[in-house]
Symmetry: C2
Subunit: 375 residues, 2 copies
């Protein structure tokens, strides 16, 4: 994802309300949000420009901005709950997460945002964890906490809960699939309270929203995105933890796994990950060793000092037609479209943004773009 210029993040309540409304508007995904903030100095000016951009993209119906009343209710609920907005581009936004593809425009944060630090490791695993797995997770999380690492997890039963609990005093971050005020599961109510007290609870979802199973993958990508590496402490061969680990690898995160007997199905996913190249973890030292090179990689991925495009560019109807011809129902990397069209990257991303806001373009995980089939 292309970064936007510094100084765009909101600095007051009005700015935060605009930021929230832009992020909650239809068709404004994380990539479109960032593209808009490259081109407009404030969320307010982007909101104003949205209808025109969508029309230029050929949208059949006027673009739907998020309902002002619903946005106001969400913002007020956050205030009432004591949740703070961590806006992309702002100082409090987690720096690890800012480096992944499609970083969320903001997160709601309950608790202490300072706990969300770059020295963070995710520990995830089975809900129906074994006593051995829970015990190992406890030892590992304590060991990493003692070395200054925050522990990130998903507040699920089993491994997640054991990891959070062990890291309460040294720093732990729970990422929820629902809103930060929508605690789940009920068994972890006390833990939720303790994390809100001593750690941080994060979510990109609306206040009051109850997460469902289909929200887990997005949540899991935040868990790994917030961390420098992810440890799967226990997990079967077909488990959510395994999928989480694979996405984490695509995010450039170090993937680690705790081995177990092949006769124990709960170790199946971990053993498979290790066979696929994940680092075998025996103790906190192995995790620290695996993380060292990632720091260098992280730095390499920081945005270069680039020239920010102006909001309005010379239009070119023929080049628009060329770009449309290069798009199809199958995802194409944006880089390839730039190369094959000969257009400037700025112009290509503007046209793609307009098409997306018009509901005609879909962005795939991995950075490819595809036309939405008419139907």
């Amino acid at each position: 994802m292309r970064a936007f210029p510094p100084g765009r993040a909101p600095v007051d309540e009005a700015g935060e309300r605009d930021w929230l409304r832009l992020a909650r508007s239809a068709r404004v995904g994380p990539v479109a949000f960032a593209e808009l903030m490259r081109r407009y100095p404030t969320a307010r000016s982007a909101l104003d420009a949205l209808p025109g951009l969508a029309a230029r993209g050929g949208g059949k119906r006027p673009v739907q901005l998020a309902d002002e009343g619903a946005v106001a209710r969400e913002y007020d609920a956050a205030q009432a709950a004591g949740a703070r907005m961590l806006a992309l581009g702002g100082d409090a936004y987690p720096s690890n997460l800012a480096q992944v593809e499609a970083s969320p425009p903001f997160l709601w944060c309950l608790g202490d945002a300072a706990v969300v630090r770059p020295e963070a490791v995710a520990i995830v695993g089975a809900r129906n964890a074994s006593a051995l797995g829970m015990r190992f997770t406890d030892t590992l999380a304590r060991g990493l906490g003692a070395k200054g690492f925050a522990i990130v997890s998903g507040l699920a039963r089993g491994i997640d809960a054991a990891a959070h609990k062990a890291a309460l005093e040294t720093g732990t971050v729970a990422v929820l699939a629902g809103g930060v005020d929508s605690m789940w599961p009920p068994q972890n109510a006390d833990l939720y309270d303790m994390i809100r007290e001593k750690g941080a609870i994060l979510s990109e979802r609306p206040m009051g929203y109850n997460g469902r199973a289909r929200d887990f993958p997005r949540r899991n990508r935040l868990v790994s995105g917030l961390a420098r590496g992810i440890v799967v402490a226990e997990g079967a061969e077909r488990s959510g933890s395994l999928i989480t680990a694979r996405f984490a690898g695509e995010q450039g995160r170090d993937v680690m796994a705790v081995p177990g007997s092949p006769l124990d199905p709960r170790a199946g996913g971990c053993n498979l990950l290790i066979r696929e190249g994940a680092t075998l973890v025996r103790h906190a030292g192995d995790v620290m060793e695996a993380l060292s090179p990632l720091e260098a990689r992280g730095r390499a991925r920081e945005p270069e000092d680039e020239t920010w495009e102006p909001a309005v560019e010379e239009d070119d109807a023929r080049m628009r037609a060329t770009l449309l011809d290069l798009l199809g129902p199958h995802p194409t990397p944006v880089d390839e479209i730039v190369r094959r069209s000969g257009a400037s990257p700025g112009f290509v991303s503007l046209v793609l943004l307009e098409l997306e806001l018009a509901g005609r373009l879909h962005r795939e995980a991995g950075g490819g773009v595809a036309l939405v089939e008419a139907g």
Copy 2:
């Protein structure tokens, strides 16, 4: 190790007795044995040449040939026990073992030598194995047996015994640290009888010799040398199995290990091996997959079609002095001596052989040679 020409292995009892006597003679290690058999058509002619070679190497005392009576007693004991000699270069000699460095000149074999086949996997591990480890070993050995692989191990308690037992019907090879007739440990007496009945028992040690702890490393190198790959089923971080696995890697064998919980000390060695690059094994399929590329490597290591050196070569006193100058108390690779001296490989190996027989040269594992310190 350089191979010797075909047709050297003994074909009758007299030949076998000479072969045994040459192998049991002082200073005739596996490399010297093979060098001798490159230069002399029979063990008898090599025995005859031995005193002269040692004298040319500067031996202070006349070379000690193995005592004829002791050799006769060993051979007769083997006959009485029903042991067969598998001589290096002969058809019955295990082809995997012929490819390693310093292959033993022969093995005594009790039972069915045909069980000793190239499709073989070694399974080793802790004597004080866990119930889980024993169960896994049983399943693994049965799985590999069903795929046609012979299981090689060391007849120890624990993992070794479980591996042999599971493979009795499909083919198992026990390698002893003592003579083939010196069963150890007593707990495995029944298993020993069953393997002699249905499988094969091998040793390079004299009949009647009781193996000791210091004989285990050599035995373990035979275990891995007989197999295409070695699986450590269970083993602590400082265990013999771990050392065995590392030597196996140096032999060019695929090293595999069965993972376990980091909280289980008996899995410590296996987890460490996996971190060091050993293949993580969950079932027989993983072993088969790991072995496939080794076959190709094995072929590549077969001796090339080379010109066999004549037994007598042009002597060159000045070159002998040069070679002595290149040798020292620290091991030097033979290749390097050839390169730096400019002498023919055949002449270099002759001089090294003479020095070894004279008691002035020591061969290190890995192929280096060093002068024995005068003292």
